[in-house]
Structures are given as C-alpha cells and as structure tokens.
C-alpha cells in the first residue's frame, strides 16, 4: 500500500506532463535559433513598434506549432500585460465567413467585457471588428489573430482573410495574423488580392533531432528530486529510466518508431502508452512496457481484419476476387465471384460450399469492414449483387493474413498462389 501510492503519483505526474504541450515544448524553445525565439521576436517587435504583421507557421501535424505559439503568447502576456489580445479561430470550426466574424466579435466582446449579441448581422460584426481594430490601434493594444488550420480559411472566397488584412493596411491598427497550417503550400492557396497584402514570413517546424529527443525523454520521464516522493524511489526510478534510454534495444525501437512517424506528438503517444502500462506494484518502467507500446502502436488493420476477423467463407470470397483480379478480368461483381466460387468448389470438392444468400451476407460483412468496396458509386438502381466490386487489400497483406489465420484451410493458400 505504501508503495502503491508513489507509483500512482508518478503515473499521474508523467501523464499530466505528456498531456500538457506547453510543458513538453518548453525545453525545445531554449536555444536562440529555435522557432520559439524567432516567433517571439517577430510578435514582440510588432507589439513594441506598434505595427501590423503576419506570419505562417508551417509544419507536419503534431510538430508543436500551436504549442510553441501558446508559449510565446503566454510569455508575451506576462511581459506586456493588458496590451495583448488573442483571438483564436480554427479552420475546422470557422471556415465559413459568417460564423468566423461572429466568433471574432464574440471573443473581442469577452476580452473587453462588452456584451455580445447573437443577433448581430454579418455587416454589423465586420464593422464592429474594424472599429475595435482602430480602437486598439489608438490604445496601443495588439490583437493577435491565431488562425489554426489556416488552409481551411483559404477555401472559398477568403473574405475573412481579405477583410482582416485589408483593415490592417488601411486602419491605424496593431494586429498580428498568425496562420498555422500543416500544408507547406498554404500561402500558395491565397488569392492574389490577399497574397499581396500578406507578408510572406514563414516559420518551418521540423521533426526533432536525436539530441532533442533524448533531452525530451529525459525531461519528460525523470522525476524531480525535490518532491514529496520518497527519495529512494525517485533515484531508483530515474536510474531505471536512464539505463532504459541508454539501452541499445530501446534505441532501435525508438529508431523504428521514428522512421514510421517522426513528429513529437506521435512520440508522446508512444511514451504515453508505455507509461500507462507501467507496473504499479514495482512502480518502475521497464523495457517491456515500451515493447508492448510499440507493438500496439504499429498496427496493420487490414492484415488484422484478414487474420482475426474473417471467417473461412469470407476468406474464400476474398480468394475468389483475388483470382479474378489475377485473371485480368476488367471488373467483377458478386455474381461473377459466385461463379468463381462455384468453379473452385466443383474442381476441388471443398467442404464449405454455402447457399448464395449466406455468401451475400458474408459479402456484406466484408464490405462493412471495408476490406472490399463497390468500384463506383453510381448505379444504386442496380441491385447490390450486380454492382462491380474491388478489393481494398493488397495481395501481400492477403497472403500474410491468411498464413497467420488460425484455421485457414491449406487449399485456400494453394488457390491463392495457384
């Protein structure tokens, strides 16, 4: 019991760290040439100079763009209290202009303790925003517009971007537009009138280097010495961590994982998984945890679907479709698959030959598992068994899956190779 408690506390602590991006990205922002300092420099200049600015943060998903920005904004808010206002929009939510303007107006009202009327029309909102921009400009307050999923705003008529940037040029305002996007060509999506008003400053987020990762692991996993934990436990735990991370097998695991997906977030997931499977009795992490985590993170769903989910009959159908594809039959539907099935049965006298409706049900199961699907969407008027089908699973996956299947008849494998 006495031993259980620190273990859980450790678990909570580390999980809390993993779920808190600002904590994660703090160490990465130390050095002078890091994105953090670049971004901070730009924004702070526009605050101090009282000028407008616009930046794009580009990088793959989960490389910590938003997190770094949050760090910067947080620090700036401490440095310049009550002269920074942050408006956050998300392309997923506010891609259409009306609700984007509404949202901006709403957040401005919340910031400045005005009351916001839902009924306000599009024009009223936009006028209100411009007025606010002017006001803030006069009051030397900087408004930071954070446009997450920037490319979504670039869809459609881009009225939001245009009116924002236009207002920033015309009115004497201080505003920074920070676009965050995982599309590296985000600025190419902009219309000419918008692009001309957009300063093409971009900050690129790259996957972390080896050293960074090591330091990150250190930073994430090691317990602080000065804490309520029993000291022996802390040293023991950190010791364990150290020799795990230094272990070559762990390094290999890490390499294989990073080869698959190299962003920080995926790494966090990996560690999260490993940590959450920590043994609470011993209260220590082990190499096994990471192994299991790796295996559970790297999945091949299609392969699993064949190996674990498919019944023999469904395997038969898959093999029939595969054979039809090998025969270069241009397209096939359920009826032709049934023909193939019948020919197989006639030639080999297999034990499992079932009625058509049973096969049709198996067919539907395969379809809702998305192992197979209809070749084209048109032709709903056609009854299902006549619509052309196609496999969504590669031959190699099929092979592998059937080999590792619990009770796959040998004849099927033979038929697959023929």
């Amino acid at each position: 019991m006495g031993k259980e408690n620190p273990a859980e506390k450790t678990l909570n602590l580390i999980r809390g760290r993993l779920c808190d991006p600002t904590f994660v990205f703090r160490p990465l922002s130390g050095s002078s040439d890091s994105n953090y300092s670049k971004l901070k420099f730009i924004v702070s200049t526009s605050i101090t100079e009282g000028c407008n600015n616009s930046i794009l943060l580009l990088g793959p998903r989960g490389s910590g763009k938003a997190a770094v920005l949050d760090l910067v904004v947080g620090d700036l808010m401490e440095e310049y209290p009550d002269s920074v206002t942050v408006i956050r929009l998300n392309g997923l939510l506010h891609s259409e202009d009306i609700c984007a303007f509404k949202e901006i107006a709403r957040q401005l009202c919340m910031e400045h303790h005005l009351l916001f009327s839902k009924m306000a029309s599009f024009d009223e909102n936009s006028q209100f925003i411009i007025a606010m921009l002017r006001e803030c400009g006069l009051a030397h307050k900087t408004i930071i517009f954070v446009l997450d999923e920037f490319d979504m705003f670039a869809q459609g008529k881009q009225r939001l971007l245009y009116s924002l940037l236009d207002a920033m040029q015309s009115v004497t305002s201080q505003a920074v537009v920070v676009g965050i996007s995982s599309r590296l060509d985000a600025d190419q999506l902009l219309e000419k009138r918008v692009r001309s008003r957009f300063s093409h400053r971009k900050i690129l987020f790259l996957p972390p280097s080896r050293e960074e990762i090591d330091s990150l692991l250190e930073h994430l996993l090691s317990l602080p010495a000065d804490s309520s934990f029993p000291s022996g436990y802390v040293s023991q735990f950190n010791e364990k961590i150290k020799n795990i991370t230094s272990d070559s097998r762990f390094k290999d695991m890490l390499k294989t994982f990073l080869n698959a997906n190299s962003t920080v977030n995926s790494l966090l997931k990996f560690i999260f998984r490993a940590v959450s499977s920590m043994n609470l009795e011993s209260g220590l992490l082990s190499l096994e945890n990471f192994k299991t985590a790796l295996s559970s993170m790297q999945r091949q769903p299609k392969l699993e679907a064949v190996r674990a989910d498919c019944s023999i009959l469904e395997l038969y159908l898959l093999v029939c479709m595969r054979r039809l594809e090998v025969k270069e039959q241009s397209s096939y539907n359920f009826i032709s698959v049934m023909k193939e099935y019948k020919t197989i049965h006639d030639s080999f006298q297999t034990s499992d030959y079932y009625a058509q409706n049973v096969c049709l049900r198996a067919f539907e199961h395969l379809r809702e598992r998305e192992v197979i699907c209809y070749a084209e969407n048109r032709g709903q008027s056609q009854a299902g068994e006549y619509r052309p089908m196609k496999l969504l699973i590669s031959a190699s996956e099929l092979h592998q899956g059937m080999r590792s299947h619990a009770c796959c008849p040998a004849i099927l494998l033979k038929l697959l190779d023929h």
């Binding site: 859980e8 678990l11 909570n12 999980r15 809390g16 779920c19 808190d20 998903r61 998300n90 997923l92 939510l93 506010h94 609700c99 949202e103 709403r106 997450d148 995982s182 966090l268 997931k269 999260f272 998984r273 959450s276 499977s277 559970s296 993170m297 999945r299 769903p301 299609k302 699993e304 679907a305 674990a308 989910d309 019944s311 023999i312 009959l313 039959q329 397209s331 096939y332 539907n333 009826i335 032709s336 023909k339 499992d352 079932y354 009625a355 409706n357 049973v358 049900r361 198996a362 199961h365 809702e368 598992r369 998305e370 008027s381 056609q382 009854a383 006549y386 052309p388 619990a406 009770c407």
Partner: protein, 520 residues
Amino acid sequence: MTREESSKVTRRSIRLASSVTDENPEPKPSHPPTVADLTFGEESITLDALLSNFPGRRSQILDLIRLIGPLDSPSLPIMVYGDASTGKTSVALQVFRHLNRPFVYSSCRTCCSPRLLFESILNQLLLHSKCSSNGYASAKRCDKPSDFVNLLRQALSDVMETLGRKSMGKMLYLIVDHVDLIKDWDKGAMILQFLFSLYSVLKMPQLGIILISGLPPDVYYSNMGYTDPLPVYFPEYSEDELRQIFLKTQVNKKLYSAFLDVVLRPFCRVTRRVEELSTTFSSLFRKYCVPLDDLAISPNEDLKRRLYSNLKPHITSSLNEIFRVSSRPHDGDTKGERRQKASYSSENGEELEILDFHMSTSAKYLLIAAFLASRNPATLDASMFDSTGGMDNRKRKRKASEKSMEKKEIAEQEAVMKGPGSFPLERLLAIFQCIASVGDSSFGEEEEEEEATGYDKESNNMMSDILLQVSSLCDANFMIKSGSCPLEGSIRYRSMVSEDLCLKVARSLSFPLSKYLYRR
C-alpha cells in the same frame, strides 16, 4: 369463439398491466437529475466480475483501464475499434461501471445527425432530460461545431466545478459510439475531422475522449485534420471464446456443451458474430432437445450420438439460411392447409412448386414477358415470337455454341456484369401480346367446352389496365424503373425476378418458358 378469445386476452393484458404497475412505480417528476447520474452510482462491479463477464476480452479490458489511467490522471483520446458485436460498447460501459467515474455516452446510431449528437451530449452535461413538461426540447439548440465547442466549454467547466465540490474526481469522459456511421452523413467528413481534433481544439485535458468505431483507424486517414487516437483493437472472438460465451448463460452446461461440440465448428466457418450465431443456436438447440424429456440430464456418449443424428439435417439446412420466419399456432388453419398440400404433392408432384400468393393472369404473363425481355437480347425477339412460337431458337442455340469459346467467355462476363437487361415499355407490351396469345390458344384447346371464357383474356380491352399491372409489378419489386435511356427519353424497365420464381409462375400458367428463353 373469437369473442371469448379476445375477452380472455383483454383480461390477461389487464392483469399484466396491474402486476407491472405495482412492480415499477410511476416515475416521480419531482426527482431532478444530479451529477451522480453521470456515473453508474452504487451499482459498481469489481474487476474480477468484469473480467469474468467478458470471456476472451481480458487483454482489451486491462488495456482500456490502463489507458484511462488512475483517478484524476488526464488521458489522450482513445479509439476502441473492432468488428460488429465484439463487445466494444458493453466493455467500455462496464469498464466505467467498474471505475465508477462520470461519463457521457452518445451513439451516432441513435443520434443520426450532427445536431442530435451535439444536443444529446450537451443535454447530458447540463443534466437536462426531455419530457412533456419542456415539450421534449433539448437544453440548447446547436447544430454548428463552432457553437458546440463554446457551449461544451461552458458546460464542462460548470460540471467540473460541481464534480470538484462533490469530490468526484477531476476527470469527465466522453464516449462517442458508432463513429463510423458519421461517414455516411452529409458533410460527415467535416464532422469526423472535428471529432478527431476535438481534444486539441478544446485544450481541456480533464475531458477524456473515447471513440468507439466499427472500422479500423486507417479508413479515417483520408480526412485531413486526423490525428489518430490511441487504438484499442477488439478482434473477432475465437472458437473457444465463443464456446465460453455461449456456455455462460446456460443452465445445463453439460448438455449445451455437447450441443456446441456438434454445431460450433461448422458454423464458425461461416460467421463468428455472436448475435448471428446466438439466434441460430437458440432455434437449433430447441430442435436438439426435442427427443429429451427432462433437460437436466447430463448426456452420455450414445445419447449424444443419437441427438446428433437427428440434429444433422437441421444443421445443414440452417447453415444455408440467414432469415427464418417462425409460424404461429394461431395460424393453424393455413398451416394445416400447407400440410395437406404437402400430402397432395406427394401424390402429384407439380403442386410442390405452388405459388404462395395470388397474381392475376395478365400480371403473370406480364411478369414472364418482363423476365424474357430482360434475359433475351432484343435482336432475337422477332425470331422468338414468330408464328412458330420460338421453334427456331434451337437453331439459334446451335449457332451460339458454334461461337469461338473466348468470345463467348467475354460475352458471358459482360452479361454477368450488366445483370438483367433493361427494356422499353413498348417491347414489354409486344412480348406480352405474343405470349398471352400463345397461352390463350393453349388454354383454348383445353376448355373448348366453355367457349364462354372467350370473354376474358386476349381481348384488346385488356390493354386498358395493363399499364396498371405494370405499375403494381414495379411496386412489388418484380420490375424496377432503371434510368431513362439518354437517346430517346422513354423510361426503361428492368426485371428483378429470380429464374425459379418465374418458372413457378410459368408452371402455374402451364406456359413453356424454357422454349422462349435464349441461353448462351
């Protein structure tokens, strides 16, 4: 006698009503829902009970519990995925019952539109229940993701602080079931993106998100904005896991296991879905127990053998059917008739293939005409339906067989791909006229005595309501209107009748169908 029957029925229903009312009292509108309703409350279960409830799900349950983590520890979004009826939903719910933590559950099966989904989540968070007093309206009206996020933030923070006051932990969990159905909604891709990035959009780590999906994560990759949650995979049950599951609820385990020894293996080759198997097995087991007088006995070897021997035919039959319709004792008269029919059919065979629903003669001819029209190539009509009544299609056949094999192959494939061909109404009517006249002549020589029947069929008056018959055939799905042909604007039809049904109809008219059917 029906009178007294019905009276008896009413009496029973009354008794039932009374018995029910005292056993479950009227809901008191006074009791308002509290935060405690977000948890399972006192009806929590131990880990062992949980594990024993779900044979073959041990690893998944433990994995899920670990990922959810100890009390008050934040967690990343989790996705539970696996095939249908592999216990995803019930495992997830039971896990929460075990942990006894507050959660919100919404199924996209029940909430079949974004608005319903959002509103049901908000209703549960705001402890709002639809009832007649509030006109079955939901607490907040919201159908846009943007509004939803704001409302959700608000509601969450409220609930959190009440939870804090009640010291029920700092975590709330959101379970969204049947996520895969969202793909079929309109603008479903949008909603999916939103759902997957909800965690990062909210930035509230005290909300744990659990998505339950019938499809593996890789089918969602196509959505941009997809950051994959931690996957937990529920594979299909293996054979002996199925055995444990089925044995779990049985009273006489010995007998049932003997039964399972017989049936489980063959059926697992077809499907391993629990619900499909259970419906089949329940009916089979009844048949299995027929010879037994008391169901408590533990069968020995030869008894097993005997039981197996008289189950065997049922097994093969029910392996090949997916839909069984039970009949009622009340339906006795028709059943008796059916038995009688069987006895007759033993005497004269053609009654075996009797048509069990009524069609008017012209409708039957129309059905056959449609079948022929969609099976035969239109170019052959002239030769099929000349005066000699399709005598020369034998020649046609020979010519067809003279075709070189691979061309035939290709033609066949095309035919299979096309399915039943489509035809304009005019062609249908022409064929109908031909075969109807043929059929009547064949009738004519039979009943030359009752020449009075000359009043009915094959008077051109019949044209007047043939179109009506066509429409009623369409209603019965025997014909479907396929898309109108681009060249001339006329609408085209397509016959959906299976060959054996058509043969039945032809037999009931004593119409020589095979003579007119062109076989490649």
